[in-house]
Every structure is written in C-alpha cells, then in structure tokens.
Subunit: 312 residues, 2 copies
C-alpha cells in the first residue's frame, strides 16, 4: 500500500504504533510538541539529515538499516558531548508512491537504535517530497557533567579512540564495486556499532575534548585541532588492519589505511585525555597532542585523502 | 556564488555568522551538539519540515520569509504547549547550484523569527539534495507550568482564539491566482504574525487544552475534540470578515468563511478554558465544548472543506 493511499494521518498512526516509550518521554507523539525529562537542567541537542542518493541507497540498505543509521548519526553526537541520549524527533519526507511498509520499517530501525541508548522517538513530522529525506534531532542529558567540547585538547594530552574505524567505508567501497561480501564490512556499513556508553565514560575519566568520527578520523581530529589550537599526531602502528579488511583492500586495490584513517560513518568516538588519566578499558591510545596546528600521521602530512564534503 | 563553490564548511561558517546568541544557548553551533538551558527540568520539543513546492515557492516568498515561516511553524507548536521557546536546530537540504545568498537570508529569517520569542538557532546540519528542504526542531521551557495538551477539554468549557485565521490562506489563494495584492493578505501568507506569548498566558489562565492552528481551525479543533473525547461547536458570528478579505473573496469567487474556518498557516492559538476562567485580553471566545464528538459550526456539520493532507 502506498502512502498516497493511507494519507498523512494514517501513516503517522502506523508509525507511532511502532515506537516504544522510555523513562525520559514524559509526553510522546500526538500533541503539538513532546515533553522530555531534562534532570540536569541543561539539554544536549544535535540534528543530522540523511538524503537518499547522498547518504543511503534503498538498494544497498533496508529501511530498518537506514533508520538505524539515521538514529546512530545523531545519538553518537550526543555521546560525543559526554551525554546520555534521551529522545529523538524525526522529520520524514517521502515520495507519495513509497510503500507504507518501508516507512514502518524505518521507524522500527530508528526506535531500535534509540533503545540501545535508552532513548525513544518522542515526536516528528511528515511531508511528501520527491526526495526521500530523514532529518533526526537527538536530545540528551549531561547527568551533572560538563559537556566535553572540541576545544579542550592540551599539548601533552594523549589521543584515544573507542570503537572501530574504516569498517563502514570499506563496506561502502565493497558495495559501490558491486559486491555484497565480506559480510562483516557490508554489515558494518549498514548497521553502525557505536560505543555510545563510552562518551559519558570518557567524560567521567576526564576527557579534555571529544568528537564523533563521522566524516573520517583525520578530518574529524582536524576539527579538534583547529578548535583547540593544537597539533595532533596519530601513530599509524596504533592501527592494525583486520584480516577481512586486508583481503578486501587487496582485492579492490585500496590502501586499507585510507579506510582506517579517513573513512567515515562508523561513529567511533575520539577524545583527548591528560597523559596521567586512567583511560576506561574500551579506549586505546592512538596518538598525542602537541603545540602546533593540524593533524599528522607519524609526524608527516597524510597524503591519502581526508573524508568528504557533501557538496563536492 | 553557488554552494558548490563555497563547500559545506564554507557555507556553514557564513550561516553561523548570521545567527545571534540568546540566554538559553549555553553552547551554540560548532561542536557535535549544542547545549541549551532547561531550567524547568523538562524540555518541550517539536519538529516541522518545509519542502519546496509543497510548503513554499521561491517565486512567492523570499528566502528570509521562508526562514521566518519555518521558524514560526515550530515556535508556535512550543507556544501551544504553554511553553516559551528557547532554541532552534535546523537541517537544511539544498541543491548544489543554490546561490549562497539565498541560504544566508534563510538563516537570517530563521534567526529573526526566533528572536521574537527570545530563542536562538543553536545548531543544525546541511546536505546537498535535489529538493530544497528545511527541517526545524524547536525546544522550549515550561517555566514550572503543566504542559497544555490536546486532551484536556471538558464539556462546558469555552473555546477561545488568540491571533488571526484565514489571512495566510487568503494570501495563498491570491498568489495562486497570479495576483500580488491585497498586500495585507499576501504579506500574511509570507510573514505569519504568531501570538507566541499567548501560549504561556493561556496556560497561566487555566487553559484546559490548546493547539496551534496550522492546518485550519476546524481540522485542528477536530484533533482537540478527538483527543478530549468531546464535541466542539464554533459560532460563525464570532468571526467578522475583514474588509480586505471580503473584497478579495468577492473578486476571486471564494466564501471567506472557508479561509477563516479552514485556512491554515496563520498559526493562531486555539484553546479551551473553564467557563468561569478570566481570559487574557488577546483571547476571544468563538465557541463551546459539549458532550459528543466532532466539530460543528452553529451546531451543524461544516460543508466547506477542512484543511489539507500533505499526501492528497
């Protein structure tokens, strides 16, 4: 059944039926606005938009996977401030001939990924559009901690990473060359495995700066370096190339370090910590902060590409 | 200059330079997420999306006016809960060949409308897209009051309205017939005059339910009637047809009451109050709540159309 047949309110009812409820949702979908608990008296808020053809393809990802990725991109931004996600709002623009099932499965994917952090979908809006577009806003609570911003890195700090990099980019390359395996890479592109809890854990451990790795590690650390007015050096030998990534890179003629250091969409968290800090177990040191500017790899400029600009 | 020339980060820098700062913005654009004050320990949140060709036309509205309308649609939802807006987040999808000036003026319009309520634009995201799309999320603070929901109307309550109806719909009809005057109607379509402060005022005066009139008074009161499980009757003689609206209706062969009772986009606020309540001065009684279902005009079903469904 198409959305033209169910109508706007019919589709909204079907979607709302697929959303769960959570502890921070004081008033969920169905009114002019939602009401969300903000016990900290401050709310962390971030918006990310996914556009078909730019950020996802319906022949590469199921509706549920697109929903999970749309949620993950936003929830990771909340975690990267050291906060715990509480709620999502979703603006969905869909072609009138879209099958209702697709929208329902998208809602399930959004809801499932949110549930991994304790958050729920509390509201949204819907319109027809020639271009399938999903704009998600995530809210989160700081639990009394200071937000961990990009500008706090200090010379002498260590740079550390929680979560994996390169997997989603490798999966994207595999799919773009027409392959469907190795499954671990393709699934990494389809379903990000974001270490959400490591954001608040890093904040509690004294992280001086933090960022969600969405565009590529070197590009995103470049934002930290610029905001903190420091230089950052990454050690290439801190990254081991996993066997399946090595095989795929070899078969496709790609340098796997381009995936590891410049590939986006895995939503790892990168942070800086004072050198004396005791890092939570999921974090591993990958480099250091020094006086200067920019990001280097083994003290040399990186030549392999640095993430992407959506307009170029 | 096109956005393809400035690039994503160049455009973001130009837009951020046009946004003001406000008291609730504890951390504005430029990090993974914004931080917004939530002194009430609850946050009110709403999302609305505008799609070119569906919700606006670039030949009918300036970029600044589109920005104002995108902000107003969201800010009115916050006011309709009895809350005061604090912040906006904006996801902007634009064609790569869009002139940068258009995006800058859009940002100024968003910022100006937000400033009318004391709110500021605290964050956002941007992507290229074949379809110009603006998704806005508004946040607000309840200031210790209970949220005014749609489900609280009681038989015996009065129905009251703050703000005007029919002006934007009349302006839309005028524009769609190829005219540019009367100016008061066309400008009402382009620049909504939303009585934001009347939302918290109604809450303080004991409103039992409230809604933002975005799709048309009768359709939106239909949501209140359904959620409250009551009937609502509107008195036609509570609406006077303004002279310029009467003239335009006559020239275009339209019943002006279709504009007044079923026209959307003015973002008036409609609320129910106990009959003994003392209404704030900007509110006028237009009907009453009774046991039953649905919305009637002078106790009869309305025959003139009831707002619109974006998919039909």
């Amino acid at each position: 059944m198409s959305i033209a047949e169910t109508g706007e309110f019919g589709l909204i009812a079907r979607i709302v039926a697929r959303l769960g409820s959570g502890p921070a949702s004081l008033l969920g979908p169905g009114d002019d606005a939602a009401v969300v608990a903000a016990p900290d008296k401050r709310i962390v808020a971030s918006t990310d938009v996914l556009v078909e053809g730019r950020h996802f393809r319906r022949d590469w990802s199921s509706a549920g996977d697109v929903g999970r990725r749309a949620a993950a991109a936003n929830l990771a931004d909340i975690a990267a401030m050291g906060a715990t996600p509480t709620a999502l709002l979703v603006a969905l623009c869909v072609p009138s001939d879209l099958d209702v099932t697709w929208a329902e499965e998208l809602a399930e994917g959004l809801s499932e990924e949110a549930a991994r952090t304790g958050a729920t979908v509390v509201g949204g809006d819907m319109s027809s559009s020639p271009t399938l577009t999903i704009a998600v806003t995530a809210l989160g609570d700081l639990g009394g901690r200071a937000p961990v911003v990009r500008s706090g890195a200090q010379p002498g700090d260590v740079v550390a990473l929680a979560g994996r990099t390169g997997f989603a980019a490798a999966g994207y390359t595999v799919l773009s060359r027409g392959f469907r395996t190795p499954k671990v890479l393709v699934e990494a592109y389809r379903k990000p495995a974001v270490p959400y809890a490591e954001g608040p854990a890093a904040a509690a451990a004294g992280a001086t700066s933090m960022i969600d790795v969405s565009d590529g590690l070197l590009q995103d650390l470049g934002h930290v370096a610029a905001a903190s007015v420091v230089g950052i050096d990454i050690r290439r030998d801190a990254f081991e190339v996993p066997a399946q990534m090595r095989d795929a890179a070899s078969a496709l003629g790609v340098d796997p370090y381009v995936w590891l250091l410049a590939g986006g969409d895995d939503h790892a968290l990168a942070a800086t910590f004072p050198s004396a800090a005791s890092l939570p177990p999921a974090w591993r040191v990958i480099g250091s902060v020094h006086e200067g500017t920019g990001v280097t790899v083994d003290r040399k400029p990186w030549q392999g590409g640095t993430g992407w600009d959506h307009f170029r």
